[in-house]
Amino acid sequence: MSFYRSQLFICLFFIGTTVFSQEKKRVQGQVFDASNQQPLIGASVYWEDQPQQGTTTDLEGNFSLPATELPARITLSYLGYEKSIRTIQVRDLEKVQKFYLKAEDFSLEEILIQERRGDEQVKNMELGKSTLSMETLQSLPALFGEVDLLRSLQLLPGVKSAGEGTAGLFVRGGSADQNLVQVDGAPVYNASHFFGIFSVFNPDGLKKVDLYKGNMPSSFGGRASALIDVAFREGERDRIHGEGGIGTISSRLTLQGPLLGEKSSFLISGRRTYADLFLKLSSNPDIKNNQLNFYDLNGKAAFTLSDKDKLSVSSYQGSDLLGLDGQFALGWENWVSAINWNRVNSDSSYFDLQGYHSRYNYQVKFDNEENGFDWTNSLSETGVKATWTRVLASKSTLFWGAHGQVYHFAPSDLKPAPKNPIDRRQTQGVQGLLGNAFIGITQEFSDKLTAELGLRQGVYTQVGEGKVYQYPNNAPNPDVDPSDSVFYGKGELMQRYQGLEPRIAFRYLLQPEFSLKLAYNRNFQYVQIASNSSAGLPIDRWVLAGQYIRPIRSDQISLGAFRNFDQNRWELSVEGYYKDLDQVIDLRNGARILLSDQVETELLSGRGWAYGAEFLLRKNKGKTTGWLGYTWSRAWRQIDGISRDRPYNPRFDRPHDLSLVLNHQFSPAWTTSFTFVYSTGQAVSFPVGSYVADNQSLPLYSDFRNENRFPDYHRLDASVTWKNPDPGRKWKGSWNFGVYNLYGRKNPFSYDFRILYNNDINYSPSDGKVVSARPGVVMTYLFTFLPSITYNFEF
């Protein structure tokens, strides 16, 4: 629904710029994709001599444009499609006009940067929002040839990665768990495979992704830093289509087509890795007998119920399995489902209703009679959201709605094998309810000044059943036993928080191609991960706000200048921001939280802040496209009990960050892409000495966290794509050859400070006689010159 909603807002925005007159006659029409008869949403419609006064098509491709003096030429345009111009006579006003737009030369689709209007970045209200089309994403060189949505977002200004090869995102100084990742409006709690190396999204099944890092509309909330709004694709309605790919480590297949006639469609998409096969090639039995795989399966069915109603049902399931010798296994799974109903009440009134359920669970199992165990945990979120949108008069659009969420974090349960004498360990489950009401209005004050004002009120309640421990002086401490505990019955109120979240944005148009934007956003976050490692693990402990864990509050102010050049061929933007965070958490030294009911004793809380400037230059059209992004930014945390209570930089603080993305189409058959990334090294702690304790030589660390830096990170990736240029073929195939880290830069993944024996980094005292020992530093680096090949096809 999110895709449609955003399109809807775009429609409404532009509708809002049009002067309506009920008395005036109108041209009614509908716009379709000529290849599959699917309605085109958001196509621009205007009179050829009045390009500034147009409209856009709605969910069903319908438009209604006030008539001008007829006959006159009407223009229909849609990015990626050939423009259509038709002369309208007076008699044409009596019936609905149908337009069929043809896609431009199919190769152009591959090099579009964004599916949006050319002047959108200047004229819309969005500050700190980035959109990536799947075509752009699929054209980028990728690790192992696996196109990855989240890793591609790291190429945008303001977005940092946790480190080499990982898909975790750190947006404008926020932690990874401060991002809301959602598909079709439903949250995904662990969006990665293989410990974060790949994200869970199979690109074939996706329509697009919007990243909100600055101004988030009041209809969204729940996370302190960013919204990553992913939309599943809908199936085409003309005939059964298929597409897929065979890659270096995985293969994927997508089927789509009409479901029950032309009023409905389906799309089902799957992907599975076969990394296990590579493991079996190893001569080391400790490696070859292991399992290592993941799969994704997502599907979407869309139904046009009437001229005004549309319903879609989508679901995603993905799972990882890592197994050792058939006895030990770690698996985790996401299952996300969403149902969306979009209703167009009239030209000026819309209604969206959404329901979703998202479940994440993991299992660690050791199949052994004496020492075995089975450890499981799951969490879920269920929600319903209703949004009403109304165009008020000509220059304002109002939306309002409500969003209810139910969190259920099941007990973490470790069950020993029957003959294992350890005790069963089970934490208590936690439940939370979050009710949100939101309202927003977009008001065009003049041709130049437009404002979007929004308010979101959240009321969070932790409810029983559950037990809350009481501590002396109300100060949880791992060294002090609880003084008492209070038990709450099922549904009983345990703790309540509420917060008002204002969202304010202004856009001032200095020139038709030059605008300034200003935004202020406040967000509250009631759920977070209790972890102090930089990369997420599948067994990370999510915690809900409660008596001792307060919700995170985030305030961000951002300012941007947006300028287009050369008839929107070039886009330039400069944005600055300051973000303030309160109640962020970290862990005490040696904290043990995974199977603890007293997590609060292991947590430390404090504040954070971040600021930066982001620069983006894009070229959207032509044979050469791409962008250059540069970010200067800083991120800070100050938490009592860490770094002697002084401010410190989290690991992802990387002041300079540059990305260059270039695509060039040499011919309809050959396309090449390059990406170059450079960033300051991660903030880390290196030893300042060493000492001996308990017969161990230990590195000595300063009391101040992350005062050192990894070397600067840089890397160049390249890919070449060849596709059969004959568009008439039923089977269309293409080959993609890529190289990750073309010049073999050894970017450190980690530095290990340890004793080196016999001047050999791999020698252990258990291997034999030790003739020498000295302190050393061992660097691990992951990917140098990693080629990949992928065959993609469609039929």
């Binding site: 946790a162 480190g163 293989f194 410990f195 974060g196 190396i197 990394a275 590579f278 080391n284 290592l292 050792l324 030990f328 770690l330 660690v364 050791f366 052994n368 004496e370 004498p421 350890i422 005790d423 102090n532 490692s533 930089s534 040696g590 690991r651 880390v684 702690s685 290196f686 300042v688 000495g689 060493s690 000492y691 001996v692 304790a693 161990q696 030589s697 230990l698 590195p699 000595l700 300063s702 992350n706 050192n708 993944f749 980690s750 290990d752 400070f753 004793i755 080196l756 980094i761 791999n762 005292p765 258990s766 000295r774 061992v778 660097m779 691990t780 680096y781 990917f783 140098t784 010159f785």
Partner: protein, 276 residues
């Protein structure tokens, strides 16, 4: 377990490599005293080692402090037990007949160059070790082939259940980071009654000595954090590295202090494995 998975993943990502590098590391201007104190119910284990930290790339040779004043005070009586430096052991030792008594709280005092360091610990009652058995086992997941020892005993205490077992194989302390055996009552203590298997594969004729310590929580936490630090590879999956939190405090002076003070009963058992 986490590390095992990362090893598998790194193996899968066969393009990964390791190499030794030299990093230009910061250096501490002042060297920090490192105090390791053991005060037990067996004279042979009672000692205090005092050394100084050094720059990271310096040789492994420790710089010892030999001129400190060291004593342990029995807080209930105020009695002082003096420790003297012995060159043979490179540590401070008391009269070998002095022992810790159950129920007493002891205070370690170290005075050096005008600086005073202190720590306290309660002498806890020892659990019971009834027997030690062994069994030859084939190679298993996470275990090599060899003889495995099981310790049977009773731990009847409702609290203060923090234990360490040190294993000495043929006069060599098993001292790799994976050799540490620390356990508390988080998963119950029934395992001790039903036989706690030591996770080491021994060979025939091995002479194995076990030392069971019942620690105070702060000493247990120190050792747990020490082991975590040994496994911290500085990567994304590791927490930011920190020094283990010492249970020794600076009473006078502006120096930092490293190390830990253990007050504990020690139970020892020695077995010799069969020649077959």
């Amino acid at each position: 377990m986490k590390t095992s998975w990362i090893v598998v993943l790194v193996a899968f990502l066969c393009a990964s490599c390791q190499e030794e590098v030299f990093l230009d590391l910061d250096q501490k201007d002042a060297r920090i005293p490192v105090i390791e104190g053991h005060w037990t119910d067996q004279g042979i284990y009672n000692e205090v080692k005092i050394s100084l930290s050094k720059n990271y790339y310096d040789s492994l040779e420790q710089e010892l402090i030999r001129d400190a004043e060291v004593f342990v005070k029995e807080l209930s009586t105020g009695r002082r037990i003096t420790f003297s430096y012995l060159n043979a052991t490179r540590s401070y030792r008391p009269n070998p007949f002095e022992r810790a008594k159950v129920g007493e709280t002891y205070q370690l005092n170290v005075n050096w160059k005008g600086q005073v360091f202190q720590s306290e610990g309660l002498m806890l009652e020892a659990p019971t070790v009834d027997s030690v058995t062994w069994e030859y086992k084939e190679k298993r997941l996470f275990r090599d082939e060899g003889y495995f020892l099981k310790v049977y005993g009773k731990i009847p205490f409702p609290d203060n259940n923090y234990y360490r077992i040190r294993v000495i194989e043929n006069d060599t302390l098993k001292n790799q980071r994976e050799d540490y055996l620390l356990f508390d009552d988080a998963f119950g203590l029934q395992v001790f009654e039903e036989g706690l298997e030591l996770g080491y594969a021994f060979q025939k004729n091995d002479r194995v000595r076990m030392e069971l310590y019942r620690l105070n929580k702060d000493a247990f936490d120190y050792l747990s954090q020490l082991v975590s630090l040994l496994f911290n590879d500085g990567g994304l999956f590791s927490p930011p590295p920190q020094n283990p939190e010492s249970n020794i405090r600076v009473v006078k002076g502006d120096s930092q202090v490293l190390g830990y003070f253990v007050v504990s009963p020690v139970l020892t058992r020695t077995v010799t494995l069969p020649n077959k």
